[in-house]
């Protein structure tokens, strides 16, 4: 252990100035999140969904009757651009919430479980700043996951099926480039759809030091919301469930473009952000860090 000159006169009586690197924690969070093998594995699995779907359709000789199987599936053989849409419909009820549950549930509880939470906080990261950075990381994961699915769907669709102008649900036909733009719109719709669940996960994550518990609880919440959403007796509740508009992106596949459900969905998700953000904040700023 050699001594160094850096620490000579190690008694700064004035506070060191805040350097402009307030953002570097966000950079570090993103790089740690996306270089984790677990995150990469989940993204790989997300990318596999459209691939499996397209290969299965390609290999089966029977043609599907219109309306059979998941929405759009019957159109895949005519136009590869439908692979991404179909895969999104398949992934959104369970698989995407599962990955969000893992990422959002891990945010605070994962750091607590490792014990690194106390070192981040004595650095000091600032509790509010840490919450914001953690949420930003989870939100970015939502975006990356849906984009991964969209891109993977477009590529495998183009490889296995003919690609051409797309006939929409409304009967109108749009060009290939327009249809790719619609795919991105669908991806952003689904990303927004998952933001509320991410905030719920963040809140649950502040409640425990056991990351697996927070992950499981977040996934359970998403399943329960979807179950409630199909019980007719609870129809008054349905518009308030964060999962209510999850499959509403079909509206984005009409001509003229209908952004109504996009807006309603965004407002609903904002409400969840506000409520669960406030809960996470009030819980975390007063939490005793005993991990």
């Amino acid at each position: 252990m050699s001594s160094s000159d850096v620490r000579r006169g190690a008694r700064p009586s004035v506070m060191p100035k805040r350097s402009s690197s307030g953002w570097s924690l966000l950079g570090s969070e993103i790089s740690v999140l996306f270089r984790r093998r677990r995150t990469c594995a989940m993204l790989a699995a997300v990318a596999l969904i459209p691939i499996l779907l397209a290969v299965a359709v390609r290999l089966s000789s029977e043609a599907l009757a219109p309306g059979e199987g998941p929405p759009f599936l019957d159109r895949v053989t005519q136009n590869g651009l439908f692979v991404g849409f179909t895969a999104m419909v398949v992934a959104i009820p369970l698989f995407l919430p599962l990955t969000i549950g893992v990422v959002a549930g891990d945010t605070i509880a994962g750091e607590a479980g490792l014990g690194t939470l106390r070192y981040l906080l004595v650095a000091p990261a600032g509790r509010v700043r840490l919450l914001l950075v953690k949420y930003a990381g989870a939100a970015l994961f939502c975006l990356v996951a849906t984009l991964t699915l969209t891109v993977s769907g477009a590529i495998i669709g183009a490889v296995l099926f003919p690609v051409g102008p797309v006939t929409l649900l409304s009967g109108d036909t749009i060009s290939v480039s327009e249809s790719l733009a619609r795919s991105l719109l669908v991806a952003s719709y689904v990303t927004v759809s998952l933001l509320g669940l991410s905030m719920i996960g963040l809140f649950i994550s502040t409640l425990t030091d056991v990351p697996v518990g927070a992950m499981a609880a977040t996934i359970v919440v998403s399943v329960v919301a979807q179950i409630l959403d199909v019980i007719p007796q609870l129809s008054w509740l349905h518009p308030w469930l964060f999962s209510h508009y999850w499959l509403g992106f079909a509206d984005l596949l009409r001509q003229p473009l209908d952004l109504g459900s996009f807006g309603q969905n965004a407002i609903l998700q904002l409400c969840y952000l506000a409520i669960f953000g406030a809960l996470a904040y009030s819980r975390f700023v007063t939490k005793d860090i005993l991990s």
Partner: protein, 328 residues
């Protein structure tokens, strides 16, 4: 303008840590019970106590990780936790053992934790991480994943994390846990060199010998309370010297010493030599040579006679009611 002499500086300025009636309860259990810590600036302060006596709980409150049930804390002249954003950048800490991301390398872990501090300049991050690793002797393992580190290496990395920036105060919770004797010596000399540079070091330990070897001041914790606090010299002075007589005539020695007004006892059972009588030497009532003369006159055969200085160990055992692990 006259320069301010140390005596004239207000106490708050000369103290690195001050707590008043600091208390922490977990449910019905009181982990820390109204402690008044007084840690002077520039000291190496030993926070000594057996396992479970409340050291880590206290440190968590000092660092604003957990909220005190009652009492006040001042760190580096500012009230905590209100002043944590100004105070914590000037404090390096190791709390309840090291903790890292096992899937990142040692250097990547330090860079990650360094980004958490808004005051840590990004341009010098790599250089500072390198220096900190060098300072704890981990340069060779900088790029190894932490999951491949031994406990001792993690402990060193934890100390390196506390040294990423020049600090006014270091709070080290049992820094030598898991280290081999060589590592323990290195930590000791590191603490000395940091203290020589003007850093106040607050170091907790359950090992008396460790505190004796590196600290200038100490507080002794027992079951959540401070039972003694002050400079090491002052803590030692409280104990009393005693005489130790080695003789085959233990009964005679007991009789003579009692006659002199001392309170002799046979050596404790675990003493390797059964033929020993000890007696505390109260004040300077008797000169040792007079005691020897009296013993000889009383027909006691003396094989050995010694005056033992007060041992901190005995004092602390008396204070805490528990033994301390002995470092080899």
């Amino acid at each position: 303008m006259t320069s301010v002499t140390p005596e004239l500086t207000p106490p708050a300025q000369s103290l690195a840590i001050e707590s008043r009636s600091l208390t922490k309860r977990f449910g019905r259990q009181t982990a820390v019970n109204g402690i008044d810590l007084t840690v002077p600036r520039g000291s190496v302060f030993g926070f000594l106590g057996p396992n479970g006596s409340g050291k880590t709980t206290t440190i968590r409150m000092l660092l604003a990780l957990s909220q005190a049930t009652s009492g006040t804390i001042t760190v580096l002249g500012q009230s905590m936790p209100a002043g944590l954003h100004e105070v914590l950048p000037r404090v390096g800490a190791l709390v309840e053992g090291p903790a890292f991301y096992p899937f990142l390398s040692g250097a990547a872990n330090l860079r990650r934790l360094d980004t958490a501090d808004r005051h840590a300049p990004g341009q010098t991050r790599r250089a500072r991480v390198h220096l900190a690793l060098e300072r704890v002797g981990l340069t060779h393992a900088a790029d190894k994943k932490v999951q491949a580190y031994s406990l001792g290496m993690k402990q060193r990395l934890g100390i390196a994390n506390a040294l990423l920036l020049p600090r006014e105060l270091l709070i080290l919770d049992e820094p030598t846990n898991g280290l081999d004797p060589q590592g323990t010596r290195e930590v000791r000399s590191l603490v000395r060199s940091l203290a020589a540079e003007g850093t106040t070091v607050f170091v907790s330990s359950h090992l008396l010998a460790e505190v004796e070897q590196m600290c200038t001041h100490a507080a002794v914790m027992s079951a959540g309370s401070i039972v003694a606090q002050g400079t090491l010299a002052a803590l030692r002075a409280v104990g009393e010297a005693r005489i130790r007589v080695r003789t085959p005539d233990t009964a005679g020695a007991l009789r003579v010493l009692t006659h002199l007004g001392l309170e002799p006892t046979r050596a404790p059972l675990d003493d390797p030599d059964p033929n020993v009588v000890v007696a505390p030497l109260v004040g300077d009532s008797w000169l040792p040579e007079a005691i020897v003369t009296a013993l000889v006159a009383g027909g006691v055969r003396i094989r050995g006679f010694a005056i033992e200085d007060p041992s901190l160990e005995e004092r602390f055992v008396a204070l805490t009611g528990e033994g301390f692990d002995v470092v080899q």
